[in-house]
Symmetry: C4
């Protein structure tokens, strides 16, 4: 068991940089194909190759992890749920990137950010990356659809922003079934984002509260 977890640890460390680079390449390749469809064919083919290679890296990494874990397929899928989703839908990769960044940070023994700041930074980064990926995917589906209100990539980014913050003006909205399915995913992220912001603010406040309370003579009730 110890030898196994040591091997897993070594694999984790070795794959950090490749996985991060692959994630960025995947997103970049996908973005170019969506945003510049009138590029010369050779460039589009190159982008497709980059995207598929990046995906291949994810699949290989997943397979190796499966082998190293020594678990049955079902139990592995259950205990690596996020990883499984991300292999099937690589546009959700940003969710993993954040984890890798954290792991790198931890090992370098840098003065770590405090928990509150970390939660804010991670949720902001995750939201920005997911919003960008979501805007790309929705734009790809919607731009040709009849009756679409999302016509430019700018519209799509604007739509992603109002969805993630749960503002939802409704001036531009997806009309295709696939676009709406992606939208539901983004809405769920928006609620999680709200939860993260509110939760970290609330816990920070409670901490400060408790400290002020301890310094004060009792009886002077805060908020009363």
């Amino acid at each position: 068991m110890d030898a196994r977890s040591e091997k897993q640890e070594r694999w984790d460390r070795r794959m950090e940089t490749p996985l991060m680079v692959s994630s960025l390449l995947y997103l970049a390749g996908y973005a170019v194909r969506v945003l510049a469809p009138h590029l010369a064919q050779v460039w589009l083919d190159l982008c497709l190759a980059v995207t598929l290679s990046a995906w291949a890296v994810f699949v290989v990494d997943y397979a190796v992890r499966f082998r190293l874990s020594g678990l049955g397929p079902l139990r592995f899928v259950r205990s690596h749920f996020l990883g499984t989703v991300v292999v099937l839908l690589p546009l959700l990769r940003p969710l993993e990137m954040v984890k890798i960044y954290e792991r790198v940070q931890r090992r370098r023994d840098q003065p770590r950010l405090t928990l509150y700041a970390r939660v804010m930074a991670y949720s902001s980064l995750t939201v920005a990356l997911l919003g960008f990926a979501g805007a790309l995917a929705v734009y790809q589906r919607e731009r040709g659809a009849p009756g679409a209100t999302i016509r430019t990539f700018g519209d799509s980014v604007w739509w992603a922003a109002e969805t993630l913050t749960t503002v939802g003006y409704g001036d531009v909205t997806p009309v295709t079934p696939v676009g709406r399915t992606i939208a539901v995913g983004l809405m769920a992220c928006g609620i999680a984002l709200l939860g993260a912001v509110t939760g970290s603010f609330s816990s920070w406040l409670i901490q400060t509260f408790t400290r002020e309370d301890e310094k004060r003579p009792p009886g002077d009730f805060p908020g009363a």
Copy 2:
């Protein structure tokens, strides 16, 4: 009193599976009638029969519980408020199903999910089931209404999703009084959902916070 609570306990255990199956049958029967109105009459009648039988099970269960409790009608209604609502509006049944599932889990002594994960799982499941039931009910009311924007069941699901997340684009909205009443119920659920997500995130964070704090030398203030 002890004999009574023992009887109640036995009834609870005996009714678990029947109630769960009835709940699913009720929802399935209702869904078929709403979504496939052009089915042969015999099938529609069958669905109606299934729906009504399921409802009968709920009513009988409610009546037995009333008898077993030994309370007066008013006090029973007050102490079983959710149960009473659910007998009258069986589409809200999913709220109860979650409770049954929990009870089953508890007795089997499985390694229980941690509280945080449980809250997330229950609120997700409840929201999904209520959203589905709400989308069905609104679709049934709206599809024939003049000036309706909810014309397909897909529209209705899309509308339920943007309502529960409080995004509210407003591209499709109910226009009939009954549809709007159901919508207000879904909005309330959406706020409760936000509260559940935020609350569990916040409490998880506070726990982690406190632990990190204990490990660190004092003076290094988190979030500062």
Copy 3:
């Protein structure tokens, strides 16, 4: 000082029922005038008289409290901020009614609701009353306005519900300056409502969390 606070106490107790009745009469009188403008003139006059009498009760109560407090006008306004607002805008009266109800409850020594349930009940009641008052006020302003989308009282209630839950479809929205000002007030209440729901859920969860933690052997981290 003691004699003064005793007098205040006595005044509080004596005014409870009159204030509650006046609040309900004010709202009822206002509602009839807004919702049934084609009633015989004598009835409308009666409603106006009821509304104004109720307002007079509020003003007298405010004046007596000012005298009893023995404070200067400015300090009194500062320490009774909510009361001052409510005297000027009696439609916000529901906010006070909740307080009176609580005071009555407390004295009767009934088994008090637990804090969590109390917060939920009060915020629900306050929100329902404010939503009704807001819907009335907006309907009165909007129904005659050119280009208005709020044309019936049903529209106005529907609009109040989507505003208080921050869903905001935008299918019906106020277009007059006064209507929009009232709307901004309702939005602020909506955010406060969200805060109340989330906050009470979160604190309830933290309590449960802490208890489960204490019962369990340490090391088995919840949410991990």
Copy 4:
């Protein structure tokens, strides 16, 4: 090091009033130029001069702080991130004003507001000022744009209110790229506002909760 921090302290104190006045002048000058573009040229020039002078005060203050800190440019920017943003985008100045107000309050040894009330007051003030600045900036960009729905300053304020509360009716929305970028900033503030309100409510509730719990015999579980 001590001499340096003493100098910084002195600078802080000396700049309080000038910075507050400059902030208000900047906002006032900007507001007049946006809202009264048909004023006589001499007044517009005066406003421009006031705006630019206020900006100059911000820049000088920033430069002096940089010198006094004795840090390298990069480290200074990192540790004064908010200050740097505010020098480049002076419309965000309100965020700083709140800080100055707090500092003034603290030194005068007034009976400080309790933490909960302070958080509510600061977030309300910040939100009001940011909403006003955002409404001004969006109005300036949108009023001439083809197809704009924000045509008057009233529309712009109304739009800012529905954005900050995340209601988002969508009856008026920005259509220009710059207007939408400002809107995304306001949405982020809206989420932070929600977090602040919810967080402070939640922490206040938890405090009250804990106190009630201590007074009660154990076993009587709140919220059960």
